[in-house]
Symmetry: C2
Subunit: 357 residues, 2 copies
């Protein structure tokens, strides 16, 4: 549209046409996550999601619905994906970080939006990323109803980008789980993580690539057949289905007293967020299996053991604090739903801390 | 916690304690935006917002509520703020970008979350940014119920950061405005922008700083007393109150047939998103006052006139396509609500385009 002598937006590095091309590809990924409640609008300015407000099932489940919203990014795990040239799983991490936070409150995810900021729109790469976000949304039973892709060559360097995600869910007001019912004697159950998940990657990168200068495709006997890149990019486990199914089985009894998503800060940083100030959680690390990548990182750092527990999940990605009488039944159910469940500790009188014994 | 010989997370550039300090300051800004529907949870994993589902007013207003969600960033306007060292207004831009998109559908904003990714946590700077987000939320009558601040020194260079925002609102299902009722004869009303708003800044920076090498604190007669930095950082106008108030006055009649938030792509790119494929909008640029900054940029580029209309709002930040018989009344109302309203054109039979006459 612009003359040769005049400046156009494309000359400054931002391509409006490449953006248009991509929108079509992204729209197919979005649709793969849509149930009957997502409302499609061609070229819409916003994503729309119908509450089942006027239907019997919604009225039965929600007398006083509360909306729950979370946002998170995937941190510098992005840089590992970049280094490995693999963009097909980061979207699962992105969804996991928000929806695992949301279910802590007892809420079921409804929908998700993403924000992707990037140096240059490369339609194939972006379509791969968005498809992985859609894959995460399908795993979490939530609809991907929108997103923004921003091309910002002056903020993001060549091949650089960042991802943020936003999830909205719903919970019945008097079923919100806050931790206020936690009491001495409660049992702490831990759900196995799939690996490092999405926190601690600045330290991971420092150890593996700055200090040890490992190759991204190196393999190590103690880590099995997978390459370094594969181990480090293992997607964050999404705990939505087992947790929502478990809560659905206890509609009247309040047997799950608190939950915590184990992110930055580890078990010692995240469990106190839901402990009453007069309770401690005593955890026994020998009661669960720590994936070999954590020993690997600790030795090569070397990293102090206490610091390891302050930065990483150490093998437990999600924690439930449950009434003692129901602990066995809950452990059985979660195991049947496909989780690896450990009885990792219990609650005692205290001051709101986590003690590792 | 770590020994001197071992690696701690802080040594890799990520400070967990600085994060804790800031959380307290941010929480005060959040609370300043909370009405009775926001539910505070100390250290919560998520933000909670109660629907007035069980109250008479909500039942009267929403028989079939649809949730509407938007996400956006502020683009490279961030770099101007950085250059000027002013972080107290970008949050208004961030809120504006999402809520102005949301009201296009006829939805009223309920709540907002932000994602802030940064090189290094500087509590004072971040508190200033979050307070400006809270200010934007107060202007848009929505609650800031959560956010994420991610310190990522390996993605964001010294003093670099990015901001993304996410808004959720609600609209009655049969009051969703889609543009399907637009017809020849409809009048196009334009609401004045406050300046460049939050799009086109890659081109702005190219012209002002790369090519012309202007100082950020330079002043120019044609731009009045304000410095370059002040003119370029003028916050995006938030159109929520006048538009929601206008729609509230026409609960039965459908007189507002379509709306558009004028962002990247300008009037010619955004109005077609809500035009039926058999209508054109004919706009008369001489009918409104274009702020002097646009002439300034066009001359100094130089930038082709058509390209200017493809990149910038050119003085019109929000457009309403309304029934001809109600155009005068709507213009009067919006003027009374504090907007500068121009009758900028009309709808004719066509093929879904915008024509500038």
């Amino acid at each position: 549209m612009a003359d040769k002598q005049t400046l156009s937006y494309e000359q400054t590095g931002v391509s409006i046409d490449a953006n248009d091309e991509m929108v079509g590809r992204i729209s197919r990924s979005l649709k793969s996550t849509h149930g009957p409640r997502a409302i499609g609008l061609e070229n819409g300015f916003a994503g729309l999601f119908r509450l089942d407000y006027d239907e019997k099932l919604f009225k039965k489940n929600y007398r006083h619905p509360v909306l729950v919203a979370c946002t998170d990014g995937v941190g510098t795990k992005i840089l590992i994906a970049q280094q490995a040239g693999r963009f097909g799983t980061l979207g699962i991490d992105l969804v996991a970080m928000s929806v695992n936070d949301m279910i802590v409150q007892g809420a079921e995810p409804l929908f998700f939006l993403d924000y992707l900021a990037i140096n240059k729109l490369e339609p194939a790469k972006i379509a791969e990323m968005v498809e992985s976000i859609a894959a995460g949304c399908r795993m979490a039973d939530c609809a991907l109803i929108g997103g923004e892709t921003a091309e910002m060559p002056d903020i993001y360097g060549r091949d650089e980008y960042d991802l943020a995600g936003f999830a909205v869910g719903v919970v019945e007001r008097d079923r919100i789980i806050t931790g206020k019912d936690v009491r001495p004697g409660d049992v702490v159950l831990g759900l196995a993580s799939s690996g490092i998940h999405s926190n601690g990657y600045s330290l991971v990168r420092h150890i593996c690539f700055k200090k040890e200068k490992l190759a991204i495709d190196a393999t190590f006997k103690e880590l099995g057949d997978a390459t370094m890149g594969e181990v480090l990019l293992e997607p964050t486990r999404i705990y939505v289905r087992p947790v929502i199914r478990l809560l659905g089985g206890y509609k009247r009894k309040k047997v799950v007293h608190a939950m915590a998503h184990i992110t930055g800060g580890g078990l010692v940083g995240n469990i106190p967020r839901v402990l009453p100030s007069d309770c401690d959680a005593v955890l026994k690390p020998s009661s669960w299996k720590t994936p070999p990548i954590f020993d690997f990182l600790q030795r090569r750092g070397p990293v102090d053991k206490a610091e390891m527990y302050r930065v990483f999940n150490m093998g437990i990605g999600f924690v439930l604090v449950v009434a003692e009488d129901f602990a066995d039944a809950i452990q059985d159910k979660l195991t049947r739903y496909g989780e690896t469940v450990y009885r990792i500790g219990s609650v005692v009188s205290g001051t709101g801390k986590v003690l590792l014994k």
